[in-house]
Symmetry: C2
Amino acid sequence: MIEDKNQQRTDLSQLGEFGLIDHLSKSFEIKQKSTIKAIGDDAAVLEYDNKRVVVTTDFLVEGVHFDLSYMPLKHLGYKAVIVNLSDVYAMNAEATQITVSIAVSNRFPLEAIEELYAGIQTACKLYDIDLIGGDTTSSTSGLIISVTAIGQVDKDNEVYRSGAKPNDLLVVSGDLGGAYLGLQVLEREKEVFKVNPNSQPDLDAYTYIVERQLKPEARKDIVKLLHELEVKPTSMIDISDGLSSEILHLCKASKVGCDLYENKLPLDPQVISTAEEFNMDSTTIALSGGEDYELLMTISQEDYPKIKANPNLTVIGFITEAASGAHLVTRGEQKIELTAQGWNSFDKD
Amino acid sequence: MIEDKNQQRTDLSQLGEFGLIDHLSKSFEIKQKSTIKAIGDDAAVLEYDNKRVVVTTDFLVEGVHFDLSYMPLKHLGYKAVIVNLSDVYAMNAEATQITVSIAVSNRFPLEAIEELYAGIQTACKLYDIDLIGGDTTSSTSGLIISVTAIGQVDKDNEVYRSGAKPNDLLVVSGDLGGAYLGLQVLEREKEVFKVNPNSQPDLDAYTYIVERQLKPEARKDIVKLLHELEVKPTSMIDISDGLSSEILHLCKASKVGCDLYENKLPLDPQVISTAEEFNMDSTTIALSGGEDYELLMTISQEDYPKIKANPNLTVIGFITEAASGAHLVTRGEQKIELTAQGWNSFDKD
């Protein structure tokens, strides 16, 4: 009845998620005094007196972000919360509240949704988060979860993506690549199961990496640790789409370059052995794997003594002038330009 | 691979949306000092020093909440914002920021999403709202929009659903039933179009009600007006699911009853004439139609002189003791128990 006379069609996959957000939000103006930072970081920042409030939101769509054939609903609920808390911690803030909205088709019984909420609740308990709202509705297909997380931070303690300076150290928490390899293991088991439904998966050799995929944690402890060490990072971001992609976000927002050292990348032994088993390069996985939910930050050189003995933090490179570009320095001392091979949901189908 | 051993299945439609939220949230505890009000009102309330922050979120799902064959994307974007702002105003708060997340299948070109955002932007401009974040992702089917709205209100100025007292007046802004009848007109035109694709809809006689459906407004002006009149309602809710349903929410939250007068219901002449045309009862439509986004409130009797001359506000009844129940007093002086015939998305398919 209402005809679309606009014949132009630009495929969404040409833009990708980040491109799409940039494109759509560029014409919006900011008018509220309380809006300190809108789109463009891990979370938005609002100000009320001397408290700053951070807000972040994420969608999880069945068939795009998760596959219920190997993702138990309880784990999914847990992960949906963690993914958002991770964005709050990446602002150097304390996560305090979430809202959870779900759209669900009638093929899910109440008991399934209860499982999902049991996972959400476990995450809330473990991270001291209040569930303060949400919406539930039916969907014509599949399960869609939208979580918004709210946090707070004292004024001027928040850390953006944009504060990195040349000579700052590039630091990462935990280790990398586990979540991606855990997914490979789960997908392999799914194929085996399709061929022989009586097969019992033996995941004993992969417990760490499977847990990294199914039950990731957000690094609340790192924000606390940094506070105790009296280190305020100059910039920070969480690693959801792969280290390369996140480094490039930091460099772009801070208008700097960087040298990243291959031999410094923190890898768990299970990541190394499983990568070999799958005939994959562990460096590529660490750079592009995604879903590790570790924190990537830059710190001033003068803070190095405070962090150098800490097993939770690894220096993996340093920041350079923008003109130098962003590079990986390989074990063979070669300099390779860093490229984002992060994940773009619009490329999936 | 992961077997669900839980054989019990409770159909979601048995619970309905409100039942589902109640059911799922009852086991969550509140731990944050800044959480003043969590689930159970139009919006959550957080506190930072003397400012209270309200947060509300809503999902709009294609095929459930909207039909793109008669809902232009620009109007959809506008409405998605309005629906959420309405919840903020229902707290007697000022709406300040929104986040917008969309999941969209590849069948939508960028230009379609731009149309959607043009509508979002128009709403932001008109209502002085900052877009501060969001997420875009692909979906395996259809379009899903999740909007979270944030607002602020001075401490103790927020109005909950729970403050109504016996003898308070029941007051509604604007008029009722238009949005529902607008939808009936649009659905009729869609059927005509299916039979004869060359037919041109003539909607001239229905401009007001079609606009109520396609381009509803949130009553920011009423919050401002109440402030100017120095009236703080004792309770307030926005009318999204139909007057009966919302009155019952207020009564339940406030532990009171009410008498609602059929002959006081504010109806636009176009609502009356179109209801007749469709052979529908205009009172039923006003009670159960939904999507009017007017504000329903209770005010203390002593505030009556301040509002009585105002064309934007209509007294439609008064609050009674809980034991009296909630009733409609008909034109024939009959007392009929009020029942919620609001909308439940889980009943749709």
